[in-house]
Symmetry: C2
Subunit: 226 residues, 2 copies
């Protein structure tokens, strides 16, 4: 049963998968899982007829993705008619028996829509908090929060999650039943692991400044909530 | 001195950095370093006036980036007038004293151009080899190489590296000299480490099939040549 507060993703001509449909996912939970596992997205906009793709961090809730940037930024000027935001989480390289069947294991989400420029101060602060807490949990309350001047210098976009598609590939290569599966030829997956390393203190810190627990505990964990 | 075979990156209005210029790099070697360290790029195209951003693997040499896909793919139809390819390598999360100064350490490259559809069989095979050997070194000679039918089903694009920009951020946060640098408040970098895990054999393999050395030696190494 679908949760009425979390409707399934709407299929439009541009989010309906033409290729690799077996990799498609259509529940909103699948989209939220990908957003939870990543923390950098690639924002696509059209500038003077040409595509422009920039990496940026994001935050999200059940209904919207939040992007921020400088008010002076070209990629966040507008907001334009339509943007495309893609989040890709790499899980492994698929080593098949034939070069042609080589692939990548991944989880990806593509979201289309017209972003809404968030100008209400309360909503802006709430969205910046979501964004900060997704990338760096605990930092919103630990660091100094944005002041009036900083809020004014920050552009914030909300993008509805309604028009989105999700694709997932996992598991072994697809050519186990082919003539290329000859005895002695290995095939499988080489997993890609993303983990946080040990925190590196700013050299300018007074000696002995302790690493706060909310930072220290992230060492060796993977990014995201998943 | 600039190597005549590796001219510096050309600045055009869209690759000239407007913001964060101190992060800019202009040598071709800087671009090649980013391409070496990544293995998935985000390809931006304009489809019916809207941006479309898709993740895909790539190969490259000193002068071109190579992308491949199915001839049935929407993102590689055309080729269009202009594409934008962005490669982003994440190195860490920058934890500053203020939320506003939080950042990400990264290396990114943005390449613009009109892709050339590679149809010459010899050039296509050479480019597919570069691509395969970048993502999965050693597999071109280990796996079964593409046959005529597979080559015909594969679209291959070459994109000149001439119009590109490179941005790099590294090191500690920028607010060590601010009023937010109060005693006891920690600041620094949380590094993001990407490594290959232990190879996972295809469950369909005959028991005891050995992992070839070119795959086994990648465990615990980072992706890319760097």
């Amino acid at each position: 049963m679908s949760d009425p507060a979390r409707p399934p993703l709407s299929g439009t001509p541009r989010t309906r998968l033409r290729r690799g449909r077996e990799k498609g996912r259509s529940r909103r939970e699948d989209l939220l899982d990908v957003l939870a596992a990543g923390f950098v997205c690639h924002l696509g906009v059209v500038v003077e007829g040409a595509p422009m793709v920039v990496p940026t961090v994001y935050g999200y809730d059940d209904t919207s993705l939040y992007l921020h940037g400088s008010v002076a930024s070209r990629s966040l000027a507008g907001p334009p008619e339509t943007v495309c935001v893609t989040v890709t989480v790499l899980d492994g390289i698929v080593l098949a028996r034939s070069v042609f069947e080589h692939s990548v294991n991944y989880r990806s989400a593509v979201i289309y829509g017209r972003p809404r420029d968030v100008t209400d101060i309360g909503e802006k602060i709430a969205a910046l908090r979501l964004l900060t807490e997704h990338v760096a949990p605990g930092q919103w309350d630990y660091a100094r929060q944005p002041d009036r001047r900083e809020l004014a210098a920050t552009r914030l976009w909300a993008l509805s999650l309604d028009e989105a598609s999700v694709k997932v590939r996992s598991g072994p290569p697809d050519d186990a039943d082919s003539a290329d599966a000859v005895p002695g030829r290995w095939a499988g997956e080489l997993p890609v692991l993303t983990r946080f390393g040990a925190p590196v203190p700013d050299p300018a810190l007074p000696a002995g400044t302790p690493v706060p627990p909310h930072v220290a505990r992230r060492e060796s964990t993977r990014p995201g909530r998943a």
